[in-house]
């Protein structure tokens, strides 16, 4: 069993910061973008960006050499 690499974990934490911990920064109505309140727009944007982060993690962990081997 191969645990995830540090690089992959770092990519994986990005969506958590953007969609969860930083809520106080983006939970507002203005500016409305594409007709959506800012908080809704922000979350939808990150729904699209989360697969990008995970795809990066996928590339790192399935192709990258030198990932640690676990027990």
């Amino acid at each position: 069993m191969k645990p995830p690499s540090i690089g992959a974990l770092a990519l994986g934490i990005i969506p958590f910061i953007a969609m969860c911990f930083s809520v106080a920064l983006w939970d507002r109505i203005e500016p409305m973008i594409l007709g959506l309140p800012f908080n809704l727009f922000w979350l939808i944007l990150w729904i699209l960006l989360t697969p990008c982060c995970l795809w990066g993690a996928y590339r790192l962990d399935t192709k990258g050499p030198g990932t640690e081997r676990g027990s």
Binding site: C20, I29, N39, C53, L54
Partner: protein
């Protein structure tokens, strides 16, 4: 035909087709215990995707999310975050879980706990926690069918008969076919769900406001506080949001059925690729937000927010479309209900009853007991749905507060050799007791935080400290499969 008759005919036709497909799928295969519960470990990417989607996009998505968008406002945004983050988190432990499960031939969540910690009382407790958390979840599904049919029939058919028929159908296809039936029914359901979501989420704002942007502008003007947190609530602010998103994102794969579905994947890589793609599925939920928010202006002052979506659909759309949406909604409730009942029954028979009370029971005996449990669980959850009252979102959050208490045991078990079964056990007991008592004392949220999340923190702290305090030489990690494959008593 009257509008009610048209809508109901379409609903019944869709449910009948869905059920027929369920019965036809896999009916030519002999079902032994493993076939029945994990589909023979042969599912490919596409079918696993559909199986997981069928379990994930529930009544909660259809009626619950729009209902809270209507009645609570801003706090419901947690749903968009938690689903994406659940997949993000899963990327980092599901593939590893699959590998361990494959090596040790695990079928269920308690199998994992028993193999890793070698404590049959701990794995028995995990069963109890899973079944306990399923109760509000099942109740949610049946409530949904009741709401759909009573709104679609314009009040002619009551909740109780509708829920009873749905329960009987669910039991029938679970007993006859096991999990393959459920996978095929969700093919139909998923297609209909997308059609329904687009029709509702785009149609309602367009019909009433001209565009989605105009709808939000009007809402921001009329009810400026509804769209941000805490919305229409007193205490669901930012700290509640963060703690709830974490609790639910980490708990998403702790449900016995989502955990168990992991083992049906073809490979660890299938699960990695699913985790990358699945967040995109969450986008369809945004449409439910549009619908729920639109109803705030169209039909304010509804008693029950969960009725908001369908009430407006019934007013705006022709009856046959209400029927299509209702049919999709009914299948959306019945597919997960089937998975929940099947999983709970298998857990009870295989992981609770046999190891603790009847070690000599044969696999055939376990399969028979599981089928018996399907009837019992169906009847119990039907009774609870008839007599209970709670919003759909609250029901799911209650389930999460309980089920996420399994998370420390799973993650520490996978990645930390020193994690001790006894410490994990005590942590879980503390977490479950705390979550249940805070919620039944109406102390949720407490200090602005989700009560289940507070309980999870205590649980994790106890598990980690307890493991550090226990003797290092007692650390067992995963034993070789030869040892784990023995009968469950050590």
């Amino acid at each position: 035909m009257t509008p009610a008759a048209t809508a109901l005919t379409v609903i019944i036709a869709i449910v009948a087709i869905g059920t027929a497909v369920g019965f036809l799928a896999g009916s030519r295969q002999r079902m032994d215990l493993e076939q029945w519960a994990v589909g023979g470990r042969g599912f490919g990417t596409a079918l696993v995707f559909l199986l997981m989607a069928g379990e994930i996009y529930t009544t909660f998505a259809f009626l619950g999310v729009s209902g809270w968008a209507y009645s609570r406002g801003g706090p419901i945004l947690y749903v968009l975050a938690y689903l994406s983050l659940a997949y993000a988190a899963s990327f980092f432990f599901l593939p590893q879980l699959w590998e361990v499960g494959h090596k040790h031939r695990m079928q269920t969540q308690p199998d994992f706990f028993n193999t890793r910690y070698g404590n049959k009382y701990l794995s028995g407790f995990v069963c109890v926690v899973g079944i306990l958390a399923f109760i509000p979840y099942l109740q949610l599904q049946l409530d949904g069918v009741g709401i759909i049919v009573s709104v679609a029939s314009f009040g002619h058919i009551g909740r109780v008969p509708a829920m009873t028929v749905a329960t009987v159908l669910v039991i029938a296809f679970v007993v006859a076919n096991g999990v393959r039936a459920v996978a095929w029914v969700s093919v139909i359901k998923d297609v209909l769900m997308v059609v329904a979501a687009v029709a509702i989420g785009i149609g309602i704002p367009l019909a009433h406001f001209g565009s989605i942007g105009a709808m939000f502008t009007a809402l921001a003007h009329a009810r400026p506080h509804h769209l941000t947190m805490p919305g229409a609530t007193a205490n669901l602010g930012h700290s509640w949001y963060i703690s709830t998103v974490l609790l639910t994102a980490l708990g998403f794969y702790m449900w016995p059925h989502t955990f168990g579905a992991t083992f049906t994947a073809k490979s660890a890589d299938t699960l990695r690729r699913n985790a990358v793609v699945m967040p995109l599925y969450t986008l369809t939920l945004a449409l439910m937000f549009f619908a729920g928010f639109a109803v705030v202006l169209i039909t304010p002052h509804l008693q029950n927010g969960d009725l908001a979506l369908l009430t407006v659909v019934g007013r705006i759309f022709p009856p046959w479309l209400l029927g299509v949406i209702g049919g999709a909604g009914a299948l959306t409730a019945m597919v997960p209900a089937a998975v929940l009942i099947l999983t709970a029954a298998t857990l009870f028979a295989k992981n609770l009853y046999r190891p603790l009370f009847a070690p000599a029971m044969t696999d055939d005996g376990v399969a028979r007991l599981a089928r018996g449990m399907v009837f019992f669980l169906g009847a119990t959850s039907l009774a609870l749905a008839i007599y209970g009252s709670s919003t759909l979102v609250s029901l799911l959050l209650t389930g999460y507060a309980v089920v996420t208490q399994c998370f420390p045991g799973v993650i520490l078990g996978l990645y930390w050799r020193r994690a001790s079964g006894r410490a994990v056990f005590i942590g879980m007991i503390a977490g479950v007791l705390l979550a249940v008592s805070l919620m039944s004392a109406h102390l949720d949220p407490l200090f602005g935080l989700n009560a289940g999340f507070l309980a999870l923190c205590i649980n994790l702290t106890v598990a980690v400290l307890g493991s550090l305090l226990s003797a290092p030489e007692a650390a067992r990690g995963f034993q070789e499969p030869r040892i784990a494959a023995r009968p469950l008593s050590e």
